[in-house]
């Protein structure tokens, strides 16, 4: 067997994770993974945390990966190629400049949404902002990144040229220690003018027009320029990154962007499918990525904390917890981000907050991508399959059924879908290796590196509570078939067995929609073996929770009990 080991490292805000892959007889496999604290989180060289993770990795793998000078051993004896992804570092202060709010600014918001940006200023060139006021605003924004688009190709260019004049003054006049990066992703006729006018050398990044025509949008046209700007900024901000990239011969990708590669890949691997989705809830951010054919959605949201979020969190707590207790927990967690729930009460708040964070992230994603079929009340209206769950808050959980219930409450899907779990938190790690060895992520996904959590059938019926809404006929290939009635408000679980294929016939009530096209329409569903089996969620949409706190927590307790305790 040829020795071609691949290493991937993801430097997160709290943890640095490393994975080692190698080819086996049936394709690439994960040898082992390791994690250490991110040294940049405490102001140190990022290589300190990376080396600690690699030391653990070589110990686990029983291989030498580092030489005596702590340099990575390359080639036959060591590692063939490396991938590097990055979510550590402060949010990138970003200014967007576009010729209209509806078109170019909206497209730019979507373009920057996977790059850990914080949009601090938007300049709409159709506003009646005079040039002096525009310049003052640009200077006062103290931004790391300016992203300008200049309308459709061959479109109007005078306001864009004026804005570029101002941008040049901002770039050339301010003796900023972190040099700001300038991305131009607009009217291609002005691209060369922008390069010459801004005179920013390698700090200028030209992209193809993300909106070459009024009715089209191609975010991918802007990605190379955004990646280049991201790299140059992070190299200035994070000690040791330049040296690490140089030594490993790779450029660090934003972790969310790297993860999005895998979501797009899963979607492409199943061209007749419903599209793929990933939800990643970490301590600093919640990431929503969805891909279906050419339709791509991706956004990062930050954990919201407010009185309203405290109330919402209290509503989703599996123990009777008031809004003030929830808000107190969230604020203290913001102060101590590495904090982990040791008590049942803390766990209940943490998991309730995860549900609310998911809902908030989906709502924000909908704001950015208005065609994303999510309704804050009704949940995710169009199915994606699979839905991949990742991130500390969803993965570092005592039991898989808790993860599934958090995802169900956060997402509130319709119809039939499959949930998978990224237990090794591999999404970004695989994504950053995808261009080094394209076979690697494909073979890893095929090998089942993402655990199948369960198939979920959502039965939505406008019926009163406890009325039968669905009957299941379960065929395990054995002698007798089982039947199971599901009532409105219930969650039911059907276990699957690895040895036999399970087929389930869905016989919905007249008004019950199980995602087969029409209410009342049922049919056979074949379900693969999975950790939790098949879960029927008949709680309906919108999700109706009891008003009284104790009754609500009892309802959550019962649902969790149905899922396995």
């Amino acid at each position: 067997m040829e020795n071609r080991r691949y290493l991937s490292v993801d430097i997160g805000s709290q943890n640095t994770r490393a994975w080692l892959f190698e080819p086996r007889e049936d394709g690439f496999a994960l040898v082992c993974s390791a994690a250490s604290e991110t040294s940049a989180a405490v102001g140190q060289d990022i290589r300190t945390g990376v080396n600690l993770a690699l030391e653990q990795l070589q110990e686990k793998a029983g291989l030498r990966l580092l030489d005596l000078k702590h340099k990575l051993i390359r080639g036959e004896e060591g590692v063939e190629a490396c991938g590097l992804s990055l979510s550590a570092g402060k949010a990138i202060r970003t200014v967007l400049i576009g010729v209209s709010d509806t078109y170019s600014l909206a497209a730019l918001r979507r373009l920057v949404s996977l790059f850990y940006t914080d949009v601090v200023l938007e300049i709409d060139l159709q506003d009646d902002l005079n040039a002096t006021a525009q310049l003052e605003k640009l200077i006062n924004a103290n931004a790391d990144l300016f992203v300008a688009s200049g309308g459709v190709n061959e479109g109007a260019f005078r306001p864009v040229r004026a804005a570029l004049d101002n941008l040049r003054i901002v770039y050339q006049s301010l003796p900023r220690l972190i040099r700001p990066q300038l991305v131009y992703a607009g009217n291609e006729a002005l691209s060369e003018y922008a390069r010459e006018e801004l005179d920013a050398g390698e700090d200028f990044h030209s992209a193809l027009n993300v909106q070459a025509r009024i009715d089209t949008e191609s975010l991918s046209a802007g990605w190379p320029a955004m990646l280049s700007a991201f790299s140059r900024l992070r190299r200035q901000q994070l000690t040791g990154l330049t040296e690490l990239e140089h030594e490993w011969n790779c450029a660090a990708l934003p972790s969310a962007f790297a993860a999005s590669r895998i979501v797009r890949l899963i979607d492409r691997m199943n061209p007749e499918g419903k599209g793929a989705m990933a939800l990643d809830v970490g301590c600093n951010s919640t990431i929503v990525i969805a891909s279906r054919g050419s339709d791509f959605i991706g956004a990062i949201s930050h954990p919201p904390i407010s009185n309203q979020i405290g109330k919402e969190t209290s509503r989703y707590a599996t123990l009777p917890i008031d809004a003030r207790t929830a808000a107190t927990y969230m604020l203290n967690k913001k102060l101590h981000q590495a904090f982990l729930p040791a008590t049942l009460e803390d766990l209940a708040v943490e998991q309730a907050w995860t549900r609310v964070r998911l809902q908030d992230a989906l709502r924000r994603t909908r704001e950015l991508f208005p065609w994303f079929a999510y309704d804050p009340e009704l949940g995710l209206l169009e199915p994606y399959e699979p839905v991949l769950l990742s991130g500390e808050s969803l993965v570092r959980v005592p039991a898989a059924q808790q993860t599934l219930l958090m995802a169900l409450d956060g997402l509130r899907p319709h119809g039939i879908t499959t949930f998978a779990m990224d237990k090794d938190q591999l999404l970004a790690g695989l994504g950053s290796l995808a261009d080094k060895e394209p076979l690697l992520p494909v073979q890893l996904i095929d090998s089942g590196v993402f655990a199948n959590l369960g198939t979920v059938i959502c039965a939505d019926a406008p019926e009163r509570a406890a009325k039968r809404v669905l009957t299941l006929e379960i065929d395990r290939g054995e002698s007798a078939r089982e039947t199971l009635d599901v009532r409105k408000g219930e969650i039911k679980r059907v276990e699957t067995t690895p040895s036999s294929r399970t087929r389930i016939y869905l016989s919905p009530g007249e008004l019950t929609d199980v995602g087969m096209g029409l209410p009342g329409l049922g049919g056979w569903v074949t379900v693969p073996d999975s950790e939790l089996g098949t879960v029927v969620d008949a709680r309906g949409r919108p999700l109706e929770l009891p008003d009284e706190m104790n009754k609500r927590s009892e309802a959550f307790y019962n649902w969790l009990w149905e899922l396995g305790g």
């Binding site: 200077i139 103290n142 004049d165 003030r324 102060l335 040791a342 005592p398 039991a399």
Partner: protein
């Protein structure tokens, strides 16, 4: 997992970096003694910018614009100087309204940088400059008492430290006067907005609060004076070590730097009582890790705000009441109670 380090130290070398975000001029030299409020580095920047549309402003033919512009890029201008003009029967003139410089002439528009403002970084406590950061600033050191907190509103000030007990926090507004003027007041707990407003009405120079209820946070953020929280949100006692440190600092001139916490910049809010000892330049902290014998402050209910000594660091992860499996630290609290707590849920105290 990154262990949080919390300084509650009696004879600590306190080092603080004061640096500009831009390349500017450093105003101090190594070994120099600086006072609180003294500038360390500065940069002069234009106070404002002005963009003038020459073509439309002077109503001229764009082809002839060069004839009408009197100043070139980079050229300084004085207030009243003619920058561009159209002569003739009805002349039109664009004059500089302030001293400044022409920074751009493009597409028929002139951009002026006008006036001058200084951006300075100021020392927040007295000390000795131990390191110069070229073009940006310096590191200032002082030996003294240091008490760090968990949250600050970004402001700083100094004053005599006064510790207020709960019966010195009258609920009745009528009893209040500006009796805390010029003082830094330390208070065990703030339960609500009214209690906080009452404190503000007594005009302290700064506030050190043990714990606060979450609903008071917006008022803390908007307070016109520095506010530091020592333990966290909720109703918690100030831990014994912090309380003892406050007692040592009481009635003395202290410096409150209510920095917003930022672990990546080693920045926490703190209260400093500078000592008389000489600083030892070049002496930096050893790397700190969880070790048996070290003191920690505990996080998470029901232990928040209590401190203790590490007695054991089990290698094997263990299962906690939440069901999560985590590596533990075993701590003997001041009340001799032995607590097992996840390693993530402690702050290591630098004494």
């Amino acid at each position: 997992m990154a262990t949080e380090i919390l300084s509650i130290a009696c004879d600590q070398q306190i080092l603080r970096t004061y640096a500009l975000p831009f390349a500017g001029s450093v105003l101090v030299r190594t070994g120099q003694e600086v006072a609180a409020g003294e500038p360390i580095a500065e940069i002069k920047m234009p106070e404002r910018y002005q963009v003038f549309d020459v073509v439309n402003g002077l109503k001229i033919n764009p082809k002839n614009i060069d004839r009408h512009i009197e100043k070139l890029v980079g050229e300084p201008v004085k207030a009243g100087d003619v920058v561009a003009q159209k002569t003739g029967l009805i002349s039109r003139i664009f004059r500089a309204s302030q001293d400044g410089m022409v920074v751009a002439v493009r597409d028929g528009r002139i951009t002026l940088a006008l006036g001058e403002k200084k951006l300075q970084v100021l020392a927040t406590y007295p000390g000795t400059v131990v390191e110069i950061i070229p073009e940006r600033g310096a590191v200032v050191a002082v030996q003294g008492l240091l008490l760090q907190g968990v949250w600050g509103n970004g402001l700083n000030s100094s004053g005599e430290l006064l510790i207020l007990s709960s019966d010195e926090l009258p609920a009745d507004k009528k009893q209040l006067s500006a009796d805390l003027q010029g003082k830094i007041a330390a208070v065990q707990h703030i339960a609500d907005q009214a209690a906080f407003n009452n404190l503000l009405n007594r005009k302290p120079a700064g506030l050190v609060l043990g714990s606060v209820m979450p609903e008071v946070l917006p008022a803390l953020q908007n307070a016109p004076l520095p506010v530091m929280v020592l333990v966290g949100y909720g109703e918690f006692q100030i831990d014994a070590l912090s309380a003892a440190m406050l007692k040592q600092m009481e009635s003395q001139l202290v410096y409150l730097n209510a920095n917003e916490p930022d672990p990546s910049e080693h920045s926490r809010p703190d209260l400093i009582l500078p000592g008389k000892a000489q600083v030892s330049p070049g002496l930096f902290h050893e790397e700190l890790h969880l070790e048996v014998g070290k003191h920690v402050r505990l996080l998470g209910k029901p232990y928040t705000g209590s401190t203790g000594e590490i007695v054991e660091l089990p290698e094997e992860p263990e299962k906690f009441a939440s069901g999560l499996v985590m590596r533990a630290v075993v701590v003997r609290r001041e009340d001799e109670q032995i607590i097992r707590i996840p390693r993530e849920n402690v702050e290591l105290i630098l004494e």
